[in-house]
């Protein structure tokens, strides 16, 4: 197959991969924060779904996409609060708590969709986010157009990455997060409130997942009733393993999956001898393969998944 690769198409390709990756990238960053504090949020998929439906509804009814992203993040935070309550305060198993959040998110988003849009027959469309080219930088050949001519949320993703790296690595708050994730009783002895730090980490993490879901809904212009995330939340969790709990690795790991989703979309358009449904499988199979590849040598935070109990019971 002869493919004509020119600068414009490479640029479009990069831009498309970034757009597909950003929702997962936000969620993966959020999951890193949560897991570094010792709490797995397996409900990320559900949190993203809630962020997606709330942002989409705001965008559709209020015509304000940025406000939609904010509300998506806030609704994500509420889901995070619920997860924190069940898994931190009630010390229920984190796996089960995450599952509960996942199921709740699936049900809530589907139900809200039916309530808001169920009566509307035609495909519901919204306007996308405006593109903001950065002067000068966007003029760079090949990459300029794709890297520096994006919508505001895409820039925000990269800004968030830098903030997360700095906060987790270089601030007292970040130190506390890592402390309650590695050795909560030692942190407690030093006067760090394990509960408060974990609550904060889970809620911040869920907020980011909500923003990721919001961006997914807004960037796809039209909403699917069920499961718009199609496993992206779980892939984000897998990317935290892949990234060995480091923000940048997890963040850029999701770009691999952005590319995989693009592959499916690309062949859907041009048609191919490979059945379409096999292309849809690619991201999931890729996740399995990547997990096998990095299985050895990944060391999670020591207290990951363990509810903290001062009495030690």
């Amino acid at each position: 197959m002869a493919m004509i690769v020119d600068a414009a198409s490479v640029s479009e390709l990069i831009a498309a991969i970034i757009a597909l990756s950003v929702p997962m990238a936000f969620a993966a960053l959020g999951e890193v924060i949560s897991e570094r504090a010792g709490v797995i949020n397996l409900g990320t998929e559900g949190v993203m779904l809630v962020g997606a439906i709330s942002a989409f509804s705001i965008s559709f009814f209020q015509h304000d996409n940025l406000f939609g992203v904010l509300v998506g993040g806030a609704c994500g935070a509420l889901m995070g609060l619920l997860l924190a309550f069940v898994s931190i305060s009630l010390r229920q198993d984190q796996v089960l708590s995450g599952l509960g959040i996942y199921f709740l998110g699936v049900g809530l988003s589907g139900f809200l969709y039916d309530i808001f849009f169920g009566q509307i027959g035609s495909t519901i469309r919204i306007s996308g986010l405006p593109v903001l080219p950065i002067p000068l930088l966007s003029q760079i050949p090949v990459i300029g157009d794709s890297l520096f001519s994006q919508d505001i949320i895409e820039y925000l993703a990269f800004v968030t990455l830098i903030i997360v790296i700095i906060v987790v690595g270089r601030t007292t708050f970040g130190l506390n997060i890592r402390a309650v994730g590695e050795n909560p009783s030692a942190a407690d002895t030093l006067g760090v409130s394990v509960t408060k730090i974990r609550y904060a980490a889970v809620i911040i993490g869920a907020t980011l997942a909500g923003i990721g879901g919001a961006y997914l809904a807004l960037s796809s212009h039209a909403f699917q009733a069920e499961n718009i995330t199609a496993g992206r939340g779980f892939i984000a969790v897998a990317m935290v393993y892949f990234g060995k709990w480091r923000p940048a690795r997890a963040f850029f790991g999701t770009f691999l999956f952005g590319a995989a989703y693009l592959l499916g979309a690309f062949f859907q358009v041009v048609g191919s001898i490979i059945p379409y449904y096999f292309l849809l499988m690619v991201p999931y199979v890729l996740t399995l393969v990547v997990l096998v590849g990095i299985a050895r040598g990944a060391r999670p935070p020591s207290a990951l998944g363990v509810p903290y109990n001062r009495e030690g019971g």
């Binding site: 039916d114 449904y277 849809l280 999931y284 299985a295 009495e311």
Partner: protein, 355 residues
């Protein structure tokens, strides 16, 4: 905000477990009615439809059993796995793969089916094997490489769903009917599970399922492997120290749960649909997670919780018809129920006091 102090009880009495379980059963339908009321629908009309769709009419009761049967097997498998802290979330994919394998076998003999006493046992066996095979991948990934099984079983489910979507539109599609609907040819009558109650879809599947639950009770509580699964779930490092082959136990728990899920899918396709449809991916495997929790991860508890949920599924579809409400309401109710069960369970295991 009042400060609450949560302390673990040293021993949880059987009585408090029963009370908590009872609470969960009462709360679940209340949740459904509450959500309906919140959505501006009449809870009384819903209650009436719920009653008629479950125990109020013979048809509703039959449908309750029909819906509860595959759920029972899937939830049973999950209960066994979860006892060993093996978090198989992929019963959906495993049941789909079980049904796919059955369909493959039936289509081989579509024109000249063998007698029913061959077709049915072999079909069910293949669904069992299909589920087991599909669960072997996450089992090995967990036991050999320590990879989180929740992520792998969910990824496997997505793969199964896409495979199903492809098969019903490709190799398994019924090419004889015009319009190319995504479905396989209708299975020959030799593959249909024997009907137990005339004019209903209640088949011997319910007997198989209940029998397996009782068998699983003995397996889990009276055999060495069952004991090992529970020991690994209780404390993996202590189990390892005491000489239990933890990896092998993890493999057994995961593969057994996959096999039972596959059998659930097989019983559904041979007992209810009699053809492979895209709707085989109905989300029943996810519902099974809730059912196994509601059954307290106990094989005998699962018998009740699955029939209860079968009633909820059957009743909800009658509610949906009566009130013209979306199907997603059931999904939402399931989500709320699972979170509430998690919160309620804490009441049994912990004491909450003002500090």
């Amino acid at each position: 905000m009042a400060r609450l102090k949560v302390t673990a009880k040293l021993d949880v009495s059987r009585r408090s477990i029963l009370i908590i379980t009872f609470l969960a059963y009462v709360v679940s339908p209340l949740v459904v009615l509450g959500v309906l009321a919140a959505a501006g629908k009449s809870p009384l009309v819903a209650l009436d439809a719920l009653y008629r769709g479950t125990i109020g009419t013979a048809a509703g009761f039959a449908e309750t059993i029909v819906q509860g049967t595959p759920l029972m097997l899937m939830a049973l498998g999950l209960a066994i796995a979860y006892r060993g802290k093996v978090w198989n979330i992929g019963a959906e994919g495993q049941q789909i793969f079980g049904a796919i394998l059955v369909t493959w076998f039936v289509l081989l003999f579509l024109k000249n089916p063998l007698p029913a006493y061959v077709m049915i046992p072999v079909g069910l066996l293949l669904s069992f094997v299909g589920g087991a095979l599909f669960a072997t991948v996450p089992a090995l990934m967990k036991s050999r490489l320590g990879i989180n099984e929740i992520i792998t079983t969910i990824m496997m489910t997505y793969v199964a769903v896409e495979a199903l979507n492809w098969l019903v539109r490709g190799p398994f599609q019924d090419k004889t009917i015009p319009g190319s609907y995504p479905e396989s040819p209708i299975f020959p009558p030799e593959t249909a599970l024997p009907i137990l109650v005339r004019n209903t879809s209640v088949t011997i599947g319910i007997i198989i399922s209940v029998a397996l639950c009782i068998l699983a009770y003995y397996f889990l509580f009276k055999t060495p492997l069952g004991y090992s699964i529970r020991a690994v779930g209780f404390n993996p490092s202590a189990a390892r120290t005491s000489g239990i082959p933890v990896k092998r136990v993890i493999n057994s728990a995961m593969i057994l749960s996959g096999a039972l899920a596959g059998l659930g899918g097989g019983i559904y396709i041979l007992g209810v649909t009699h053809e492979l449809l895209p709707e085989q991916a109905s989300g029943i495997g996810y519902t099974a997670v809730v059912v196994s929790l509601l059954g307290n991860l106990h094989p005998l508890g699962v018998i009740f919780s699955s029939l209860f949920f079968g009633g909820l599924v059957s009743g909800m579809s009658s509610v949906e018809r009566a009130l013209q409400i979306p199907r997603t309401l059931s999904l939402l109710s399931q989500g709320i129920i699972i979170v509430l069960i998690l919160i309620i369970q804490v009441l049994a295991r912990y004491e909450i006091k003002r500090a």
